[in-house]
Amino acid sequence: MTIEPKPGKSLINIKADFPILGREVHPGVKLTYLDSAATSQKPLCVIEAMDHYYRWINANIHRGVHTLAEESTAQYESARERIAHFIGASVKEEVIFTRNTTESINLVSNSWGRQNLKNGDLVILTEMEHHSNLVPWHILAAEKNLRLEFIEVTPQGELDLNSYQALLQQNPKLVAFSHMSNVLGTINPAAEIIRMAKKVGALTLVDAAQSVPHIPVNVNELDADFMAFSAHKMLGPTGIGVLWGKKALLSSMPPFLGGGDMIKKVHLRSFTPNDLPHKFEAGTPAIAEVIGFGAAIDYLTAIGMDTIARHEKELIQYALRELASVEGVRVVGPESDKKGGVASFVLDGVHPHDVAQILDSDGIAVRAGHHCAMPLHEKFNLPATTRASFYLYNTTEDVDKLVQGLKKVKRYFE
């Protein structure tokens, strides 16, 4: 069986757990990975869990009584249980497996949204949303003639709760917002936003793609109605994500995709949907990925989300201080006390694409562009930014390399 990390695992020498962090990206140039907000790297235990599944267990789940099918089902459902526990869900049936955060939000807009929203209804979003929490609502708004309004973002990169308060007076049906901005790094006051929404009877959906991987998140404490996140941003594989929802709510919703596994009975002209969570998991799911996701959860749990959040807080404080020392660099978003490990910046006179390209020559992987948040870039009047994002395996040496790299960029463009 695969190696499981022990509780209390420390962050010292943690890079050794991630095979890819040892690779050279150019001859003699090691990788410095600063793009975890796009996707995180995977520890060996995750890779091995998936490898082990395919070598020894591979079988379809929830049907078949042979040994492999039993083992496969048990591992799949065990992962669901650990994920539910990880986010503080009351029951594991509230954890629905999807492909990713995007699909989770689309599930809500298609199932709950189609059933409950009608002509003229208001959905509140924010100006800092990722396209994944904008476009599903654009699509539904066009179909149902919904109103979309947006909580404003202040020049400091925080949500303006006064503008939110004003919108709440207009009888919204849903407030869907990002817990942590993938561009600004801002950690939004989710509990307060949800509390305010509840006062006016609106449901809430938290896009937790950037928060669940980096800070402790407990759905019961937040008291949200829906929460969406992806495995691949939290050490797990691509192709698997979660929609968490309150059981009563999920039970009342119609199915999203139809097919095998989501049914109890099928007749030629009708079907009876299955119970939760299977009602929303049509067809053969990404079994190996779910098992890999479970291994990632075990790894994160062994280290502890408090430890990870603290480590990233120290890194972003250090990074903001060091970046400020490079002339011409301007970081967008709030001060380090209000954000996670994301530093998006512009460098005077050099386009982010050129910055990223020259950094790559030193093995430094950053993201350049609008990071799937075009409206936010428009708001700040920036065509694009360069983004360095941190995770548990990053160190102050990685920040130092970034700063050295930026000095090299400046030399090219002097």
Binding site: H351, P352, H353, D354, Q357, S361, M374, P383, A384, Y412
Partner: protein, 134 residues
């Protein structure tokens, strides 16, 4: 890296010869690379013999896209509209003189897509414009 950021690229990016706008113009078209945020507008003046007499570009973007626009405009001035209709992407890449991966290739070729879409009077540009006449 030194190959990609040849002196000519950096020089054209910092001191472009054809940056600006032409008003009035005979042809004007703009487009962008949504992925990276390069945005370029090209204005052209054409004489009675369909010869391009003046050209200017505006907008913003990475060094590769901006240098490519500047080199392209230098190339098209004095040529006929028909010649530019037939221009292939290889001709522009020769002017740049650099090897590009698939992502940066889009930056380099954006100006050619724009000028062709403008000349053909199309509502939008498309990648097919880079390879053939339409």
């Amino acid at each position: 890296m030194d190959d990609l950021y040849r002196e000519i690229i950096i020089e054209r990016y910092k001191n472009p010869a054809y940056r600006g706008e032409l008003d009035p113009h005979d042809i004007s078209f703009e487009d962008e690379n949504p992925l990276c945020g390069d945005h370029i507008k090209i204005d052209l003046r054409v004489d009675n013999n369909d010869m391009i007499t003046e050209a200017a570009f505006s907008g913003h973007g990475c060094a590769i896209s901006q240098a490519s626009a500047d080199l392209l405009l230098e190339y098209v001035i004095g040529k006929s509209v028909d010649e530019i209709k037939k221009m292939k992407k290889e001709a522009l890449l020769d002017l740049l003189g650099i090897e590009l991966g698939p992502v940066r290739l889009k930056c380099a070729l954006l100006p050619l897509k724009i000028i062709k879409a403008g000349i053909y009077g199309l509502g939008e540009s498309n990648d097919a414009l880079l390879d053939e006449e339409v």
